[in-house]
């Protein structure tokens, strides 16, 4: 994977992260939006403008690919490259989260479980 791509996608925006999660399976635009809305309990509502510019960029960078166009509807799925980025980002987020929890616990801002 090129360094440029890592720099571009890590850290990843929240919307990109959730879109990649959605594209673990083949999905079309509306299905991506629904999946993300459900997963985030409507906190993130991907509109047409956001979704398409992201999809366009991800296709261009080969992070996702266009699967089928037979019914006229385009379906997208994450590529191996996308999966690799998602894995790296999740690892980074995990560390970030852990650091946050540790520090806030030390300060007594949040309780230990």
């Amino acid at each position: 994977m090129s360094d440029g791509l890592i720099k571009k996608y890590i850290p990843m925006t929240e919307t990109t992260y959730y879109t990649l999660l959605a594209l673990n399976q083949p999905r079309h635009g509306y299905a991506i939006m629904q999946f993300v809305s459900r997963l985030t309990e409507n906190r993130i509502q991907l509109g047409t403008g956001t979704l398409y510019s992201m999809v366009g960029r991800l296709v261009d960078d080969r992070v996702i690919r266009i699967l089928s166009t037979d019914s006229g509807k385009k379906t997208y799925q994450m590529t191996d490259l996308g999966l690799d980025l998602l894995r790296q980002e999740t690892k980074r987020l995990d560390q970030q989260l852990q650091n946050g929890i540790d520090i806030l616990r030390q300060e007594g801002v949040i309780n230990g479980e």
Binding site: H28, G29, Y30, A31, M33, Q45, G47, T48, G49, T50, L51, Y52, S53, V55, G56, V59, D60, K73, K74
Partner: protein
């Protein structure tokens, strides 16, 4: 099958918001928009009254597009269709009209967050910037032709053809005017698109605010005007010398105040501090005074609204609050000529007057 009743209407809009609102109103009264010609002739067919939403977008495909740019339109339309939008038609300048039925609880706008709204707004700004650029190119070409013809005819001992002189005399101001128009339209559409259909609009209709044109010469008048607008529920968001952009907010009593470099330096002087001056700043671009102005204003509980380039800063109070005045009231009534046109322009006007005077004297002596 009986063919549907059709309707052709002639209307011309500068504002896209107004145009799209009108199309939505037409659908509510049973006329569905299906085509547009020359941005003026709207074609409708009869339908059951329905709440439809219309949006406009464009693809700005450059002359030498990349693969990504070619795909862009296809992917966009695909995603839009997935999300329930359909392409109605496009006009001669390749603006695409999208339509979707209003459904409660769905995302009822094409661009639903600040970032993507900004993206579309920039596309329109870019379009007009390019048009303006082309006009400058044409203007230069005519200028060069004029010089070449003049040179050629002076070598031949003749005169520049009369028709070309007249042509240039008409052409130059018209094209220059168009250039400024294009630039201003670009700015106007940018602001219009970033405000389009903000989610806080009450009836779900497009509510972007409004633009008013006014030339106000004194601070006190400006204060009164802005406070009056706030009482009617219009909050100043941005302004240029003669145009005021307002957005809809709950009506409340807001105080406004203005600050300029001159007034900031007056305050510094009153405190026995030195004047903020930059001797290297010939074109009035140094805005150190704004940093000072902001600090002064915030310490007195004023909130920043907007800055008119480097000439003036506008502050607003909290609703129904009466903060301490920023400047002495005696400055309110003075004409705000410099802060209106800028020091640089004032300098140029002065230079023009002086050179005109010198030219006149020399001319009369000869």
């Amino acid at each position: 099958m009986e063919s549907k009743r059709r309707l052709k209407k002639f209307k011309w809009f500068v504002s896209y918001t107004k145009e799209l609102n009108w199309l939505e109103d037409m659908a509510l009264s049973g006329w569905k928009f299906y085509d547009i010609r020359f941005s003026m002739f709207f074609y409708f067919e009869a339908c059951d009254p329905v709440r439809l939403l219309y949006e406009i977008d464009r693809f700005n495909l450059p002359k030498n597009p990349t693969l990504k740019e070619i795909r862009y339109k296809e992917i966009f339309i695909g995603v839009a269709e997935d999300m329930g939008w359909s392409v109605v038609t496009h006009d001669e300048s390749q603006n695409y009209y999208f339509c979707k039925e209003y459904i409660e609880g769905e995302i009822n706008e094409l661009y639903n967050d600040e970032e993507s709204r900004d993206y579309r707004a920039k596309k329109y700004q870019e379009l007009f910037r390019k048009k303006a650029e082309e006009l400058i190119g044409v203007l230069c070409l005519v200028g060069i032709l004029y010089l070449a013809l003049g040179l050629a005819s002076s070598i031949n001992g003749g005169r520049t053809p009369q028709w070309f002189v007249i042509f240039s005399m008409v052409y130059t101001p018209v094209v220059s005017g168009l250039y400024f128009l294009m630039n201003n339209l670009g700015k106007m559409y940018y602001l219009e698109f970033i405000r389009m259909r903000k989610s806080n609009s009450k009836d779900g209709k497009q509510d972007i605010g409004k633009i008013e044109r006014k030339l106000i010469f004194t601070n006190i008048r400006l204060k009164k005007y802005l406070t009056g607008m706030a009482l009617k529920g219009w909050q100043l968001e941005d302004m240029t010398t003669t145009r005021f952009f307002f957005i809809r907010e709950d009506a409340a009593g807001y105080q406004y105040t203005m600050d300029s470099k001159y007034l900031t330096n007056r305050r510094r002087k009153a405190l026995g501090r030195n004047k903020l001056e930059d001797t290297k700043d010939w074109s009035g671009m140094n805005n150190d005074w704004q940093v000072q102005s902001l600090a002064d204003a915030e310490s007195k509980d004023w909130i920043f609204v907007c800055a008119l380039e480097n000439r003036m800063v506008i502050y607003r109070s909290k609703p129904d609050a009466m903060p301490q005045p920023l400047n002495e009231p005696k400055y309110d009534r003075r004409p705000r000529f410099i802060s209106l046109i800028g020091e640089y322009s004032a300098f140029i006007v002065l230079c023009a007057l002086i050179s005109g005077l010198i030219g006149g004297i020399i001319g009369s002596m000869l």
